[in-house]
């Protein structure tokens, strides 16, 4: 017992450094997913037929192929083929970002569709163009509605980031394994890793919850008010 505690105490700074790598991967992936996902959601709702087809294919592909397979395909295959010398962390960030984009696209699509169509028509009646109506009327509401589902996606990506180890990104899980292999204290170390992940997820979800409350519009919200 005491031996385990000493190992954990010694390993903690090393593991915490790993959680910075995890945070970089997750934040990068979530923002990449936000940009791509939002664009694709608009494409799915408002786009022409070929746009809808292309986006549909993208979503189908990234939802259908396991993240681990995608990591191998992109890191050893596509990125190499394109002549990109990306670090493992960068490659994981991009792959996770592109994966979460597929899921986020559906989150935003649902949110956009939940805004009554009458608002779009009213915006047009007031002389707004389509793009203006989307940017200033629909999206501000849709984004607010999306936050709860988005925070689910955040916690999923956070945990998926543990897969980064297979291509050599030194995040929490990889570092936990390294220390465990040297000290043979597997269980105490994995518990520690679990706690680190829990703290990260909890702070992220709490933060998003705070954001949800902060951007809430009185009179228009799912909370009633």
């Amino acid at each position: 017992m005491l031996e385990s505690l000493i190992v954990i105490k010694d390993a903690l700074p090393f593991l915490i450094q790993g959680s910075f790598t995890t945070v970089v991967i997750v934040v990068g992936a979530m923002f990449l997913g936000l940009g791509l996902g939002l664009a694709m959601a608009c494409g799915m709702v408002y786009g022409r037929r070929w746009v809808r087809l292309v986006v549909g294919f993208y979503v189908w592909f990234f939802q259908g192929v396991p993240v681990l397979v995608l990591l191998f395909l992109f890191y050893f295959g596509l990125f190499n083929f394109m002549g990109l010398t990306l670090t493992a962390v960068a490659a994981v960030t991009i792959v996770l970002g592109m994966t979460t984009a597929a899921y986020q696209a559906n989150i935003f699509r649902g949110a956009i569709l939940s805004i009554p169509n009458g608002q779009f028509k009213a915006a047009s009646a007031l002389g707004m163009g389509n793009v203006q109506a989307i940017l200033y009327i629909v999206l501000p509401q849709a984004l607010r509605i999306s936050i709860p589902a988005w925070s689910n996606e955040f916690s999923i990506i956070l945990k998926d980031s543990a897969l980064a180890f297979v291509i050599g990104a030194p995040e929490i899980m990889a570092r936990t394994q390294f220390v465990a292999s040297r000290t043979y204290q597997h269980l105490p170390l994995y518990i520690t890793a679990g706690i680190l992940y829990f703290i990260l997820t909890w702070s992220g979800v709490k933060g998003l919850r705070a954001l949800e409350t902060k951007v809430r519009i009185p009179g228009f919200s799912l909370h009633g008010n």
Binding site: F14, Q17, F72, Y75, F76, T85, V89, Q177, A180, S181
Partner: protein, 251 residues
């Protein structure tokens, strides 16, 4: 308000960009290691790569005037990483096998390793009972012993069930959990396990000893020649024997 968000946004972006930068300057070689393979390669208490192969490679790099970086990579992906130029060399207790020689080249052998079976310390099972008693045994995925155990079972009349692990320390953990009765591994990591956990080495199970070599890409003949020459020099120095003693390779 907007300004503060902007600052935050820029901070986040630069943090990400920091992770993206790849620095490749000068004569630098990247050594891919399986950091779950003590005593040949592991991460030490301070978080730095260490181990017999890591220190040997440091010596060789210094000898050749190269800068060296040790990059931990999952064993499953390590040969692919070498072939796709993510790393330049694998100095991490890799056995020279005919299958691997089809894809990559190896330096001269620098260490001969025996493959042994590890069981619980208080177990009184014999090797014959272990192999024929319908037991579960484990091996690290992607290793010659895993392959050997799978192909040799039928011709030899063995009836164990084989489980695959990410590393041999994990297999040892599962011996203690009672999920497998024995685990096949190289003798040096087995000594390491015996020193740290209540397990013992049951003995060899019939697999021939294997030679370790450092692996490079097939088209990288210049590096191969240089490392070979340097490795010969290193093996002739007393430092080599010091390393062998330091990492307890001979037990």
């Amino acid at each position: 308000m907007l300004k503060r968000n902007l600052v935050l946004f820029v901070a986040v972006i630069s943090l990400i960009a920091g992770g993206f930068t790849t620095a490749f300057a000068g004569k630098k070689i990247v050594n891919g290691i399986d950091a779950n393979f003590p005593p040949f390669a592991y991460i030490d208490k301070t978080g730095k790569p260490a181990g017999f192969d890591v220190e040997a490679m440091e010596w060789i790099a210094k000898d050749l005037g190269y800068e060296i970086e040790h990059m931990p990579i999952d064993w499953d992906g390590i040969i692919t990483s070498l072939m796709t130029k993510k790393i330049d060399i694998i100095a991490s207790g890799m056995s020279i096998t005919p299958e691997r020689l089809k894809k990559i080249d190896f330096t001269i052998p620098y260490w001969t390793i025996n493959i042994v079976m590890v069981v619980k310390e208080d177990s009184n099972i014999t090797m014959a009972e272990l192999m024929k008693g319908n037991n579960r045994i484990g091996a690290q995925q992607g290793t010659p012993e895993a392959k050997w155990l799978k192909t040799e079972a039928e011709p030899r009349g063995w009836n164990y069930k084989l489980g695959y692990y990410n590393s041999s320390p994990l297999a040892v953990e599962d011996i203690l959990n009672g999920r497998i009765v024995g685990a096949a591994m190289n003798d040096a990591p087995a000594y390491d396990a015996v020193a740290k956990k209540p397990v013992k080495i049951l003995g060899s199970f019939g697999m021939e000893p294997e030679d370790f070599g450092y692996a490079v890409r097939k088209d990288d003949t210049e590096l191969l020649e240089k490392v070979n020459a340097s490795l010969e020099r290193l093996m002739a120095t007393p430092y080599w024997d010091e390393l062998v003693a330091k990492y307890n390779l001979k037990n």
